[in-house]
Symmetry: C2
Subunit: 203 residues, 2 copies
DNA sequence: TTAATAACTGAACAGTGTTTAGAAAAGGAT
DNA sequence: ATCCTTTTCTAAACACTGTTCAGTTATTAA
């Protein structure tokens, strides 16, 4: 049945168009200033049409949240060519922080906003998030097994690492560091990450 | 002029009533489900009346944000009886995390939400926040001067500490750790805080 | 060409924050 | 107690929001 097949493809294309347009608007104007009606306007459809492709607004946010995790995971993979697991972990932290600072809207969806998390909790679909977390955890445990860092519970060391980088990114993108002059920020970020990373070094 | 004096007192009381009611509703039902109209209903005034006491909704959030910092600062003060600055710093971290987990709505206002931060940026009034940060920074620098922790830039060590505890609290209250069974959470939190705090110990 | 199915939309609903014109209440002066 | 002024309050409207649904238009099958 080539016809229903094409139908499905068109449906996917439409979903894609909606997501693309939504994200574009989010990036340009921030979440607060983008409504379903404005997305509908931009793609020249009625607001009601969007509901034929997404159950509600949260489902759009959830889809974009997943997109974000795809991007992050792709980035994480680029560290695999680093042989030393400790150096690789270091790189992953820098990468995470940069990703967050350069893609605040994605970061917001993935780690801060409430609505997409609601959807995920209800339907128990943390897959993409867990995949990235697992990648990090494996790296930590590799460091430990190689005797490059002090022994500790892997879960705890990983969470500690994540908490730090998340803390840095979220404090900055939610503008809790505006008293720090912009030109000093990179120094503070790099410095505090390196400071924290000392615990991952064997004494 | 006892009359204009009383007028001002009444004005303050009304502001207080609005703030109190607003926070009560926020705590009971979460920010998403509380509107100005519902606050107005609860105090049995018209929504328009609120605008005689607050410029807009953000001003209410800003006032409550300050209330949150008062609470936090009061808590911080309770650590002053601890003589050892390193132990005091430790206590401050635990205190911060507990405050965040037990008062997620206040924490949200103080460190996550966008709208109150906007107000603050525009009017450059970080006072209460900076006071708490300063308190923490002084403690860190005291540890360093006493030779209890490795030497480092105070600003960097402080920010690193803050990033960690903020990371922990915000990941949890924004439900990014729901895969971790609730009974393990305290262990992970304490463990990862202690893990991070190793950098504050002299080797 | 007609019947059935799918895609789409106008209009409405119930809600939001905010503004404004005018009513109600309070205070001061006669 | 009356009049006038000032303050306090609110009904109603405005321009939005997400969402639903009856009804229209377009596409496909017979």
């Amino acid at each position: 049945m080539g016809i229903t097949e094409r139908r499905e493809k068109e449906k996917k294309e439409m979903r894609g168009l909606i997501l693309e347009t939504a994200m574009k608007l989010f990036l340009e104007e921030g979440f607060e200033n983008v409504s379903l009606r404005r997305i509908a306007d931009k793609i020249e459809y009625s607001p009601a049409t969007i509901y034929l492709y997404f159950k509600d607004k949260d489902e759009i946010l959830y889809a974009l949240h997943n997109e974000g995790f795809e991007k992050l995971y792709a980035l994480q993979q680029t560290t695999l060519d680093i042989k030393d697991p400790l150096k690789r972990l270091w790189k992953q932290g820098e990468l995470y922080i940069n990703f967050g600072l350069e893609n605040p809207e994605y970061y917001n969806l993935m780690f801060i906003m409430r609505s997409p998390a609601k959807k995920i909790c209800e339907e128990n679909q943390w897959e993409t998030g867990l995949r990235s977390y697992g990648f990090l955890k494996d790296n930590v445990s590799e460091c430990m097994e190689a005797g490059l860092m002090p022994m500790a519970e892997v879960e705890i060391a990983t969470f500690s690492f994540w908490a730090h980088v998340h803390g840095v990114v979220s404090l900055i993108i939610r503008e809790r560091c505006v008293i720090i002059p912009e030109e000093f920020l990179p120094h503070i970020i790099k410095g505090s990450f390196d400071f924290m990373m000392e615990v991952f070094k064997k004494k």
